[in-house]
Structure formats: structure tokens, C-alpha cells
Symmetry: C2
Subunit: 677 residues, 2 copies
Amino acid sequence: MNSIQITDTFFSKYRELVRKEMIPYQWKVLNDEIAVNIERERNDDTIPNEKSHCIENFRIAAGRSQGHHYGWVFQDSDVYKWLEAVSYSLKEKPDAALQKLADSVVDLIADAQEDDGYLSTYFTIEAPQRKFRDLAESHELYCAGHFMEAAVAYHEATGNETVLATARKLADCIYRWFSPEEMAHPGADGHEEVEIGLMKLYHATGEKRYLKLAKHFLEERGKNPDFFREQRSSEENYIALLNGVDHFPLSYFQWHKDIYAQDTAEGHAVRLMYMCTAMADVAEATGNSRMYEACRKIWRNIVDKRMYITGGIGSTVTGESFTFDYDLPDDTMYCETCASVALMFFARNMLKNETRGEYGDIMERALYNTVLDGMALDGRHFFYVNPLQVLPEASAKDPGKSHVKPVRPEWLGCACCPPNLARLLASLEKYAFHEYKGAVFADLFMSSSAQFGTLSVVEKTRYPWEEAVTFTLDSSDTAEHAFAVRIPSWTSWGKGVTLTVNGAHCDLPAPGQIICCPSAAGDVLCFSVSEGYLYIRGQFRQDTLELTFDMPVVKMAANPAVRSENGKVAVMRGPVVYTLESADNGEGLYRLFLRDDTDFSYEFKKDMLNGVGVITGKGYRIAGAVCGESTPADTPLYAPYTDETEERAEQVRLIWIPYYAWANRGKGEMAVWIRQK
Amino acid sequence: MNSIQITDTFFSKYRELVRKEMIPYQWKVLNDEIAVNIERERNDDTIPNEKSHCIENFRIAAGRSQGHHYGWVFQDSDVYKWLEAVSYSLKEKPDAALQKLADSVVDLIADAQEDDGYLSTYFTIEAPQRKFRDLAESHELYCAGHFMEAAVAYHEATGNETVLATARKLADCIYRWFSPEEMAHPGADGHEEVEIGLMKLYHATGEKRYLKLAKHFLEERGKNPDFFREQRSSEENYIALLNGVDHFPLSYFQWHKDIYAQDTAEGHAVRLMYMCTAMADVAEATGNSRMYEACRKIWRNIVDKRMYITGGIGSTVTGESFTFDYDLPDDTMYCETCASVALMFFARNMLKNETRGEYGDIMERALYNTVLDGMALDGRHFFYVNPLQVLPEASAKDPGKSHVKPVRPEWLGCACCPPNLARLLASLEKYAFHEYKGAVFADLFMSSSAQFGTLSVVEKTRYPWEEAVTFTLDSSDTAEHAFAVRIPSWTSWGKGVTLTVNGAHCDLPAPGQIICCPSAAGDVLCFSVSEGYLYIRGQFRQDTLELTFDMPVVKMAANPAVRSENGKVAVMRGPVVYTLESADNGEGLYRLFLRDDTDFSYEFKKDMLNGVGVITGKGYRIAGAVCGESTPADTPLYAPYTDETEERAEQVRLIWIPYYAWANRGKGEMAVWIRQK
């Protein structure tokens, strides 16, 4: 992969927000220049009280300042993720002032690193005697992994050698302590992540020990069920670093079985996604089909039975975890932003092992829905939880829904989601294309300009609003190139895909068939369809391929086993899930239902919500008391059923907006799923 | 009220279970003769570990034994409620051995009482310096109130003077400390209850100070919002007696406003019900219409907007509390047994102030549904939470539903519900009839034989299965008597009420109308309908009144504002709510729905579930994957909606059993509400 420039207006807006809003804003928070209004997700006294103290922690650890550590035990990771986002941002758009700032942060981190390579400000400052002794809670390796990811990115973007050296020194320190050969110290981090970082360091340096250590940590999980407990009991005066973690079941940490035996998605969703992301990377790097198969089992369980239509994952706030098959409540779900970002990481790494359109389908579903939902259109407010149904009164008064916010808070008590969004969006090109076995694959669609060796690709599209994606392929040599375009599975809901090659219609081949159509150079390009991709082979000379993905508005139903959505439908168009807001449809969304006469219309509205597709259709509204109004004297709480209630429902014109764009017009109700009669 | 004997087979079974099972069993638990398998509702280290230690606590406090207090800070109340149930049981059926045991318990309690009248074993044994200093958590007055209730009942049943003297000494001790006149010490108990006990003591003794103190405690609530916090801060070395109580909002304790300003049902449901029960009693005793109006506001809010169809109350496990209007989720609700028992207490005391059929309607709805649901048919297993929908897998794997049990546990970590059930069922006659302004009212229907002064009433019925209730009224004098029978509001769902007087049909009067029909003595009895009651006036000479309450099987719908029941119906017949179980209908109850062709049948099955009415009707079942099965290859998680799924649903014959009788045939699914197309 040589270079990819994203020129797409849809995503450029977001990448610009990352660059102009999120990166500077987050710096101010990390550097305590801003005190923010933190949304307390839980009544938890360990949630810091409006200052980050992240950079100050490093200054103290580096001996440049005095004082105590403040904040979460994993506070360090905030600046690492910031640095990673900065790296991608600088790569896209150099910025001398920002680079100078980042360089100084790198120097500070290096200073805070201990002589043996150890790096974690909490333990350096407060509890050196507890290093590596509370892996269930310490997040030492978790933070290390995020630093490694940032270091590789920053080195790649700027050539800064200090950052890479610091990361290697840290990895070497960890290697010595956990030494797989000697099994000097068993165990792994309660929060998977270092494995991802080690793999990135391995790819960047070629150092095989990092690969070995990543694989080792993955295979340590579940080996000794008592590991965390034994660590706690062996400490004199053990004090919790994170309240309540010792009450979580082993599955929370994916520690209930070894990774090869895990066949369902269990526990904390972000932890699981990081584990799978690393497993998929290790599987490819070692050619380990057994590990890839383990990834496949978990992948299948999520996609078939434990994922929300928005690509959200995590059904419960307790442990921010999965629950069980088909348990997808839409009012108490978790659907953490970080978890869907990490689902994209997982999918992307699966593509390293095997070509399947489904991996791109899920990346796309997560991206256009839950991931983008994590950020307000102003780039300054964020969701931790991405719900499918919201009633502000319930968020306020039902303790079981206090984690479901009706508007995005300004910042978050646990600030992991915004930086995850930032680094993903700033490096989106890595998810748009991939190379595999000599072919170049387009997985996500956005206007861009890319060079893959001698193959150049220029892509133009107004996706996800318009159906056409046009590729102009060119190569500067005479080799035959292979270029593949993912065919989204949702194209089967409509009339499918139309292909125009150099201005002329070209039939889409059936599976197993090869169709060749004239190339720009007077030769032919040959097309085949396999595993959800359209392959194009030939010598490219400014060849234009225009694909039109039919995007009807579709009512979606869930598998009947998804109890919460029995009798309901959701609306989609292409990859985008749409939703109802009370801002457009009045209060009492629960009173609405559809019949078979919905008759959808679609229209792009450029001045609404930064430019969105809007869907309208015929719906029905039941009369009767709503929250806050008095009960009409003739509407008791319970009364004999009559079908008149629905027969007399008034017809209304309903308006759906893209799910990701909700909660940008103040506080109100929202509902993805609506009753269908 | 002179004497009432319940001869009813339906309730006699339960009263016998109380006498033969619950009372002896509970004694064994209290006396540590049995170690029980306690269901832990919450991960709370203060939950005792399988022994009660209740009686032992009293022995230690009395100096008859050595050791520490063990158990909840309110553990004492368990034996008080047991004693109260024993009292009612002895009244119905003398038992010398039981009375001897109870006498010895009374003596033990008196011994455990301190010289100044103070009584609470926890503080006597462990923390005398903290008496009355932690009213948010201590439950000192809560326990005192339960003892007063027990004392009055035991004295009434057996004439035991020690118990009444002990209770008076306790009440006097509390009076001195909290002395309304001197406001020596402000505040009230975090858990309302002493007010109920004081009122019972007042009614039994005529001592006006007890009435005054009850009113005082009620009016203290909400006066000083900081009261509990100030108590905690004023203590050196404050240690929580109950984890987490200091995190609850003021509304949990009904302390957010003074009682006259509270117009919605807020906070912990049992606390609120005890508060209202006492308020209604005080209102009547003092002729305080302002306090009665305060009761009315809360009553209206519950009945119109915050009650489940089963008479359950409490929408959230967090704080075991109400949430907001129309927020009645049927899978995460609380519906604590104690709360519905106390709803009956509240309704009963409202009848002291005003005659309204609605009070009896709600008593009846709670009794035949949530209250009876609290006990298994074997009398040895109990529910704390009475759900409207259960999926065993969800109870096991969704932390948000861990409080919802699919089978009744053997005993409960917090054992308040079984004794509450016991004392209610053992004193049921007090709820069946009441006297008011010279008339006798029949509020609940059960075969019985009662004497009210010179009026004798013999009632025969097979309610709630059969529609006829027959009263034989007789008096030994020439006075005109007034007898009133509640006309259940559900009779308006069917053909209403038919009246036969001394074998001949008698029209039911319209409101405002008086109709007279021949009496047995050759005179007339005159009938009028008012406030939900049928009044009969005349000289009774073995007059027979037969009322037939038409009981069709009815589909019930909830107010559209009840979001969780949009598009669903529940089935009722008379006062009984019916429900579906997987034991009768197969797994996957969520796959079922009804159309307009349900065509119900009803049949009484005497050999099933101790004899129950059973309802059958036509329903439909959607095919497709259910929990635990693999996804069929053609049933993806999300796919375009098609009405074929429901069009191709198979017809099935569904079976409904009474809600209270569910979970008596092993672990399975249950659902009160079902989708209606």
C-alpha cells in the first residue's frame, strides 16, 4: 500500500473535525487547559473529577513535576491514542506546530520511561512495588499496547526515531518479564490490547520476539482460571485499582476458556474485539489456521446472533458485555462506540487471512452507523453508548437506562471512545482498501486517489447517498493487474449491481463465470465474482468502471429469535440505517406504527444535518395519553382490548434520518425499530 | 367486627399452608434449626450466609447467650412478623403447643428489651452508642413498628399481657426520645412502618400519644432534606449499616418533599406503601381530610399510571422503586411481593375514610395475582420479584434480569416477603369485610361465616372460578340493617351483575335509583348502587342474595402510553390475570401472537395446580430459529421484512393458566402479555 488520499466530502468533513476540533480539544483536556463537564456513567468514586491530569502524570513520572498521579489507572492511554490520531493527521496534512508539540510529547514519554523500559505513570509514581502484580486491573500492558500503536504510526508519519526506540525498549522490558521461553511470569493483561501493539511493532521492525510475545499472551488467556485471584491474594495489602473488577466473571476478560475453545462472543465487548483483532493478525503472520478458525467461530457468533442492526455490540451495561444469543434489547443495550470501532479492526484483520465480502459488509455497517453515531456533527460531543431507542424521561428516571444518554455529552468520564474515533477516522484509508495476494481490494467506498505500486486508482462517489461508484484504473506498466470491488450484500435487497465499463454496459458475471468487456486500450478487462467481490483483471489504461449499487429503501426485520424486535421493522437504504426522531415526528414515537402501505420516498437534503439522505413514508399514530399528560377520563391504565385503537389511528407522514445523525438537534426521543402491522 | 370465619376452600388451602408449613418452617429458620439455600439477590457482602440467627440475636441481647449479632440490621422484624402470623393463626385455630412456643418468644423479646424500653438486638449487642443516630439505615423504628403490630395481634388472639406491656414500653421509649412536643430529636425512620404499629397500638389501647407520634413521624418526612446526611456526618467513625443506602436519592425514602406535597408515587415501593397505609389510618383517626387527600393523590397516580395489570408495583430493581408514569417494563420490573401486600394494606385503610369500590377492586387485583404469586403452591418457596415475563436464559445471563427468577427460591436472603404473605393470608378476613358508618361491606369474596353485632352473614361462593356469590343475611333483632356488596369494576367488561333475591330475580338499580324486592319476612329489601357497591337495606330474616358476576374471558390492553405493551394484550377472567407458560405452550413464547379469531374457552380443572381455571384459545406461532438452536442458513440475523413470516405462522391451541399459579412445574418461560395483530 503506497499512498491513499481521501478526497471524499462525506468523510473529509469528519477528518477535518478530527484535525481541527478533536485533536486540539483533546490536547487541551489532556494538558488540563480545559476542565470539562464529565458525564458520570456510574456512581463511581474513582471517576476523575473534571481534570484529565494525563500529561501532568507523565511530567511527574519524568521528574519534571511533583505530585500524585490522578485519574484512571489507564489514564496514560489517552495521550497514546491522541498521538496515534495526530500521526495519521500529520500524514494526511503536515502541520509543523502540531508535529513540534507531538515531538515534545514523545520526548516527555521517553523521559517518563524507566531505565529498564517500564512505562506506566501510575505505578512509577504511586506503586512501583505493584508492577505487573495486578494484571486484572492494572492495564499496564493495555497502555503499553496503545503506546506501541502510536509509536509505529508516529514513526511512519514523521520518521521520529525516539518514539520507536521507546516503544521497542518497552516491548523488550515486557518480554523479559513475561518471557515465553522461561515462563518467568505467567499471565496476561485483563484488558487485551498489547497484543495488537506488539503485532504492529513486529510488522514495523521485523522483530520476531514481538510476534511471539503477542501469540503467547493470547494463549495465556484461560490457561489458569485462578490467575487473577492468585495475584490478588499474593499481595500484602491488596487494594483495588478499579472498583468491582474482582467481581466480574472470567468471561468478562475472555478468560473462561482458552482462545481455541471459545466459540461464542462473551464478556466485555471491547476486550473481546481487541483479542480477536490481535488473533487475526497473529493467525496471518504465523499462518496459523487454527487461530484463524477460532476467530471465525467468534465472528460467526457475533454476526449471526449477537450484533445490532447498527453494527453495535454489547447488550448490557453491566460489564459492558455480551449476554447471549439473540438477546438484543434495544432500550438497555450498551453498543459502546469503542466496541464498534474495534469490530472494524477485527474485520479488517480478517481480510488479511481470507477474502470475504462479509468482512467489508460488517466494517461498513459499523462505520456508517454506530461508529459515526459516536460523534456529534460538531465534533465536540460524543456518545459512549449508542442506543437504538431513547426516551429522555427514561434516561433520567429509570436507573436501568441511566447509561443511555439522549444527547452526546461534552466529554466522558472514561474518555476512551473519542480518541478511538479520532484515530479510526484519521486512518480511514487503511480500511477503504487492502492488498492481498497481489490484488487490490476496494472495501469501503469513498472518493479517493490511491497508488498501489504501479496501479493507480481514482475513485469518485457520493456514497452513501448516491448509488454510483466510479473507479478510474491506470497502470504505468504492462503487467496484468487485479482489482476487486466489494459487492455489498445489501445489493441483493434491490435490483443489484449494474456495471458500466468505459461507457458501455457490461454484464455482471454469475458465480464461476468470466465475462470480458472492452478495455480502454483496445483489449479486454475480464470480470468474475467470488466471495462477495467483483474481480477485474487486465492491463489498465485509464479504464473507467462505474458500478451502480441499487439502493432501494428497505424495511428490515430481525430473526424471530430476536425477541425485542418481534413485530417491528427498521428502515435501511444501502449501508445506512435510518431512524425516527421526535424532532421530526413529534413526541410519543412509541405510538407510531406502519402498515403495508408505507410507500417510501428518498431525498437528499444538503442543508440538513450537514447533508443527509432523508426518507419519508406513510405511518400511523395511535391517539391517547402520552407521558406527562393527564390520563383522559376515558383512557384507564388497563381496559378491554379493542382494535378500534389502531383502526382509528391517524395517518401521518413519517420522516427518517440517518441513525448516525440523530441527537444533533437537542434532546428528544429516538427509535430505530417501529411496529409493523 | 365481631367474628369472621373463612370456610372458603380456595383460601383455606393457603391458610392451612401458613399454619402447617410456613409458620413451623419459618420458626426453624429463625431458630437456626434449618440452614437454607438463600437466593442472593445482589452481590452484597452483608447478606447473611444461610443462617438466620434471629432468635439467637434475642438470646444474646437478653443475656441468655453470648456472641455477636448476625444478619441484617433489621433481622428482628422476621420474628415479629412470624409472631403476628402466629397470632392470626391461633385466633382461627387454637394450638396449645404453638401458643406455648409463642409465649416463650414473647418472654424472650421482653427480656431482650432494655430497661428504658429500647428494643433492637443489633444495637443492644453491637452498637449501643449508635442508637437512633442512623435512622436512614438502622430500621430501629421499622422493627419497633412490626413488634407493635405483632403485640396487638397476639394480645387480641391470646390475651397475653406481657406482649402488650412490652410494646407500650417500647412505644413510650420512642416517644420520649422523639417527643413531638419538645422536638427533642427530629427525624423519622428511613423505612416507614412504626407509624402503622403505633396506630395499631393506639386503636388497641386508646393512648392518644401513639396517634400523635405516628402523625409526627409522617410529617417529619421531607422537612429537612439533609437530615440523614447530617446524622451520618455527626457520627465519629460512621460505618454503613446497609451498603449503598447513602447513595439513594431522597425520593427512595419519600423524603424529597413533605407528605402533603407528594403527588406521585416515588421511591422504594414498600416504604411508600407503608407510609400511605399509616397516613390513611391517621387521616381517619384525626378526621384530617388534608392527609386523606394526600393519600388520594398518590393512590390515583399508582392506579392510573404506575401499576402493573397484576397489581404489582415497582418498575426497577435499583432501589426496588417506582420510576415514572406509564413506565412499566414487563421483563425488568420489580413488583415485590411485599409491595403488593402493602398495597392491600393501603387500600384497606382507605376504606376507613371513604367508601369506593375501587379500593376493593385493587385489593382484589393485588391479592389474586401478585400476592398469591409470591408463594408456590407447596407453601415452601417464595418470590420476591413477581415478573410479567420470564426467559430462564435471560435470568441467568443478563445481569439486568438477575433479580427475575424463573422458579421460586426456597428462602430469600432478605426474608421480608414470606412473613408478610403469611400474616396477610392468616388475617384475610380483615380484608374481606369492613364496617363503616353502621353498614357492613363485603369487599372480597370467599365462603365465610360472620357475625357483625346482630347481623349474621353466611357467604358461599367458588370464586374466582365461578361467577355466583350467595349471601344469606340474618339478624336477631328488628332493626334495619345495611349490607353492601362491592360490584367489581370488571363486571363492566361483560354482561354485568345479575341479582336474585330469595329466589326471584331483582333488577339491579341504576345509579340514584332505589329498587325494592320481596324479603323473606314478607317485607321488602331495598337496593341502591353507590360508589361501586350494591347496598341492601332492610330487616334480614334468612334472606338469600345471589349475585352472579358475569366473567367472560377478556383480552386486556394497556393505555397506549404504556410503551412496553404496545401491540399486546393480556388475558383476564374476573379478577384473575392469566398467563402463558412454556410448560403448556412450548418454548419460544415470544414467537406467539393472536389475531381476532382467538375464540376463548374456559374450563375449571380440579386436578391441575391445586384446582385452577384454564383458558384456551387459538393463537399463532412464527417459525424460525429460537434461542439455543443454530441459525438456519436461510434465517439471517437481519433481512428484508416480509409479511410471509406471519402469514405462514402455524395455528396453535394456546393454554393460559392463572398467573399466580405459574412456576410450579419446573423452570420455564412465562409471558402475561402477548402480541395481538
